[in-house]
Each structure stands twice: as C-alpha cells, then as structure tokens.
C-alpha cells in the first residue's frame, strides 16, 4: 500500500510528497513482527536504487505468502531532485544527506527529513541505497562508519556486495540519514553502487538478491535465495585514492574491478586541443580498482580511481 509519509505545499498548485510502499507479508508462519526499510533517491542524480525498489516491489507483491513481516520501500525521498535531475533539493542549498535528523521547526527540507526519520525509526534494518554520482562508477559496496562496524558488518555480509568499506568517523557525516538512524538504534547500511543517472541492471539484480538473502536471514522470507558472494572487508588504511594532477580528458585503459599492480597504467589525461598526454596515471599500489572515473573531463584534483589494497597490500 502506498502512503504519503511526508508532504508540504509547493508554491503553485502542487505538493511535494514522499511516498512509502508498505508490503505486508501473508506468510502462514507465526508473524515475525519484523520490518525492513529500503530507502533511496536522497540524491536526485542517483538512480540505481530505483530499479532495486521496483524489482523488490514486483517480486514481493507476487510472493506475499513467502514474506513474513513488513518491507517498507521509499523509492524517492528527494522526489523533486529525481524529477529534475538535480542532485540536491531544488531551491535548497544544503545536500539532503547533511540535514538529518531534521527538525519540525526548520526549513521545509528539514521538516521533511524529520518526518522521514520518524517513519523509518524502529525498523529492524534500513538499507540506504546510493549510486555514487555522475563522475564515478562504483562496484557494489557497503560503507560503514567505524563506530557502527561491529554491529553492522554481519548484516552487510548478507547483502551480496563485493566489498565492505569501514571508513573513519567524521563530524560532517553526523547529519546523514544513516548516522542519524544508527545512533538512535535503527541499524542502517549504506550501499554505493553503479554510476549517477544510469541503471546498471547487473548490479541492481546483485543487490536485490542480497536483500532477499538478508530477509531470509532475518526470518522474513521463506522463498529460495541465491548463494551470496563473500565480500572483501576493508578499513580506511587499505584504500588508496588516485586523483588527477593535470586538467584535460581522462581516458582509462583498465576495466573496473580488476586486479592491478603497483605502477601499472590506469589511463591518461590528454589535452583535448593538442592531443598531448599531460599525465600518465598509474596505480600507487597493488590492489583492485573499485571506483573508476566515468565522466571524462578532469581538473587537477578530480578523483580518477580508488584502489582496494593500499598500505595493507604493500
């Protein structure tokens, strides 16, 4: 059943509506009383989660007798952003994932954020799906703040992702949806996969299979599930960043999620006017490329790749 869980009037004859599709199981077993939330669309240019939500809704609705509990799907918590290909909330300066937990006394966006938190709070697990941005392509991965790692890693391993990145805490991240929910007792996992403004079917199906595996492990799904892959779990020190030092167009010469040796050629930054190669980009360490630049134009500082390996692999 689709319900509007947060809303506000827009200027001309329209309301912003944040919708939740609640799918309630009809299993014959003793009710699990459990609830899992799938949230996506915080950033309007990240669309991979749209297909995951659609697939989940389709499969669950066709197999309600195999679901024991509630799955709440929130496909677009920034509906105006998605509708207008805008990363943030149109006419609002702050990133939506920097205003949680929100407040009823704040701006419209902060009021909506507070309503979203209120609606999700108390769920057994929440999965917040992101898809990088238009510049970078990410292998399916779970990102976990180190302060929640012990509690969340076991659940992250169920999600059929390739990689779990446990990153260090930062004050600025305390205003994300995931942080706000985790500190108030609702376990929330952040998924990053694919690239902005696109749907990568293969990744979406991979994560969807992982979500069913999670439901199975929580005793909420009696249907068959695929065997999930064993992710690599990695801390901050084992991730190496590769940034461009020159400006131009970046042309890669490696594939995504491949093994790479230290010093191996990742790609070139080329001057589009002269054709001259202005930077030969090489791997600073041995490892696997889990982030690779998708958008070709680069400035000095543009992120080219992230390599899982880093110091730990030297």
């Amino acid at each position: 059943m689709t319900t509007v869980i947060a809303s506000a009037g827009l200027a001309v004859n329209e309301r912003i509506e944040i919708r939740r599709n609640r799918i309630t199981g009809k299993s014959a077993e003793t009710p699990s009383g459990k609830r899992v939330c799938i949230v996506t669309g915080t950033h309007g240019d990240e669309l991979e989660g749209q297909y995951v939500c659609a697939e989940l809704a389709r499969i669950l609705s066709e197999n309600l007798q195999q679901l024991n509990g509630i799955v709440d799907i929130y496909p677009a918590i920034n509906p105006l952003g998605i509708d207008s290909i805008t990363r943030g909330i149109p006419l609002f300066d702050l990133d939506m994932n920097r205003i949680f937990p929100g407040t009823a006394e704040g701006t419209m966006a902060e009021c909506l954020a507070a309503d979203i938190i209120s609606d999700i709070s108390g769920a057994d697990i929440c999965i917040d799906i992101h898809s990088s941005n238009i510049y970078l392509k990410e292998i399916p991965q779970i990102r976990i703040n180190e302060i929640s790692a012990d509690e969340l890693v076991p659940y992250a391993k169920m999600l059929n992702c390739d990689f779990i990145w446990i990153h260090s805490a930062a004050t600025v991240l305390e205003s994300t949806l995931a942080y706000s929910l985790n500190v108030t007792g609702t376990k929330t996992l952040v998924v990053e996969m694919g690239v902005g403004m696109r749907i990568t079917k293969e990744y979406c199906r991979q994560l969807t299979a992982g979500i069913f595996n999670l439901l199975k492990n929580l005793g909420m799904w009696t249907g068959d599930v695929e065997k999930v892959r064993e992710p690599i779990v990695s801390g901050e020190g084992t991730v190496e960043f590769v940034n461009s030092d020159a400006d131009g167009i970046f042309v890669p010469c490696v594939e995504h999620w491949v093994d790479i040796e230290k010093g191996e050629h990742i790609g070139d930054v080329i001057n589009p006017i002269t054709g001259e190669t202005v930077e030969r980009v090489t791997a600073p360490c041995r490892g696997k490329i889990f982030t690779l630049r998708e958008f070709p134009i680069v400035y000095g500082g543009s992120l080219i790749a992230r390599i899982l390996g880093g110091e730990g692999n030297e």
């Binding site: 200027a11 309301r15 205003i99 009021c111 941005n133 600025v172 960043f241 000095g300 500082g301």
Partner: protein, 308 residues
C-alpha cells in the same frame, strides 16, 4: 599595495583561475578578509572591492599601523561567477564546505587547501558570507561558537547585532569554523544582499571592518563609533514558518519593530488571487530576516524576529 595570486587552478577549456589577494602594510599577519566563495556572491565581492579601494587611500595616507599586514581576497570562485552558477562549475560542490581542504583531494578540496594555507596565521579573519536560506538579513556579524574566539570581539565591528551560532555537523567544514580551530579569531559578516550589490549595506560592511581594524590597532583613521552591539544567541530568534504555500506579500521589512499580533504578510493563492493566509507576529521584536522570493513553499521560514 601588493596584488598577488594566492592560488591558481588550471582548466582544460578556460584561462587559469587565479585567485587574487591584495596585501596592505607589512609585518605580522593582522587581518584577512575573504569575499565571494560562491558564484552568486556578487555583494560579498563588491564589499571587498570597496574595501580594497578604501585601503589604497588609507595606505597612501600612512594610516596602516607599523608592523601590520592586511589581506583582502575579493573573489575566490570567479569561474562560477562568470557562468552564473552558485557552486563549483563542474561538480557543483561548495568550496565553503571543503575546509580545511586536502592538497591531494578533489578539486574543491584542493582549492580550499591552497586558499587555507594562505589564510592561516592571521590574528583576525572576516568572511563575507551568504546564507543557505534565501532572504534579506539585517547586517550583522556572526561567530561560530567553538570556544576559540571571544564573543566580545564582535562588538568592535559596531554593528547593531552580533550572533553566536552553535555549530551543526555541516558547519565543521566551513572556513569560519576551521579558521578558528587553526588559531584565527574568525567572524562571518552578513549584509542584506547576495546576488545584487547593495550600496548602503556594502558601505555599512566596509565601515564595520574599518572600525574593527581601528579598534584592534591595525589602522589609524577616523571612523564613526557605530552601534553599541548587542550580542545575542540564536535561541533569541523567533522563527516563523509558513502554514501554506503561495505568493507572499510582506508588509514589513528587515529592521522594522513589530508587536505581537501585527500583520506581517499575506499569502495569496497563485492561481485564484485570493488571500489564503495571514501571518501575524507571535512576539514583540525586530524583524531580522525576511524571506525574499516571490513564491514560497509550505513550511518555508518566512521571518526571524529578535525577541525584545
């Protein structure tokens, strides 16, 4: 005056973006002013340009105290300003959410890093800021409460109001916050404009900064004494949200004194023209902030009133 490039970045398709700083006087790093970090902060750049103009005259007349150096950076992000964009041209990130920066990081982290290296070591720092909520403000000075800078210093600007803000997580990557953490007494100065230069409030801001420099022993010149500044915390601001969406017709402006029950604005249905809501002041006070877009959403913050 010494005009110099304090940071430069290359683009594949444009001339280099050279961030220009103007230095006056010689000696210890006394005060630095940073203007537009966002592409629409025309007023913030304008205030700095007027300050540069005034300081040229003051330096010529020997008014800069011995052993004091002042730096003014009118515009950091003119790449965005030249194409009518508020945030960074390519990835839409906000330089003022990237401090202290990272020299090996993303482009705007590198800009923040390069700039911040130049900004460190000043005793006082002033950022001409704009706010994420669009509207008119009474000119004021604001201090992020970090424990590093004294509230009392704000009185030396001689503006009517000085605010102390308790930082939120997203404030911790701003220039103001990091400036303080790295040992500079840092303030944000707000005028009542952003996208369009406003002569009067620009003059107010320039006078306030000159006054501050005189009181802190950086300049020797005659300047009006300004206001007896009232330092107030943000919880004295009464925030009024809109109960409906529509076209807002305001009957008060910033600086007006209002009494509890006074009509502040009417909200009109944008299609039918009828008045759908009237907003009355729930408190006695001074209008400090007024929403200034013609169309407003439900729950927009329409006014902030300093309670008397």
């Amino acid at each position: 005056m010494n005009k110099q490039v304090v940071y430069s970045i290359q683009s594949p398709y444009r001339q280099p973006m050279d961030v220009i700083g103007f230095k006056f006087g010689k000696g210890e790093k006394a005060l630095c002013v940073v203007g537009a970090m966002r592409g629409n902060e025309v007023q913030q750049m304008y205030v700095c340009s007027q300050l540069v103009s005034r300081l040229k005259e003051l330096e010529r007349d020997g008014c800069i105290c011995e052993g004091k150096e002042i730096m003014i950076i009118p515009c950091v992000n003119y790449y965005s300003m030249n194409i009518g964009k508020r945030f960074w041209t390519m990835d839409n990130t906000d330089i003022n959410r990237m401090f202290p920066g990272y020299e090996l990081g993303e482009t705007t982290q590198r800009i923040a890093d390069g700039l911040f290296k130049e900004l460190q070591g000043y005793t006082y720092g002033v950022q001409l800021a704009s706010f994420y909520q669009q509207g008119d403000f009474l000119p004021h000075v604001k201090l992020m409460k970090t424990g590093f800078t004294s509230n009392e210093l704000m009185k030396d600007f001689g503006l009517p109001y000085a605010f102390v803000r308790t930082p939120r997580p997203y404030d911790t990557t701003t220039l103001n916050y990091n400036w303080q953490v790295w040992g500079t007494n840092a303030f944000s100065l707000y005028t009542n404009a952003t996208d369009n230069p406003d002569e009067n409030s620009a003059k107010t801001a320039v006078d306030a900064i000159i006054r501050f420099m005189v009181k802190r022993g950086i300049l020797k010149t005659r300047v009006g004494s300004g206001y007896l500044t009232e330092v107030i915390s943000e919880d004295r601001l009464y925030q009024i949200q809109s109960a409906s969406a529509g076209i807002c017709r305001s009957f008060v402006k910033t600086g007006d004194e209002v009494k509890c029950g006074d009509l502040l604005c009417e909200l009109t249905d944008p299609l039918e023209g009828c008045v759908i809501a009237k907003i009355f002041s729930p408190v006695n006070g001074i209008v400090f902030f007024r929403f200034n877009r013609p169309l407003e959403y439900e729950k927009s913050v329409l006014y902030k009133i300093i309670r008397l």
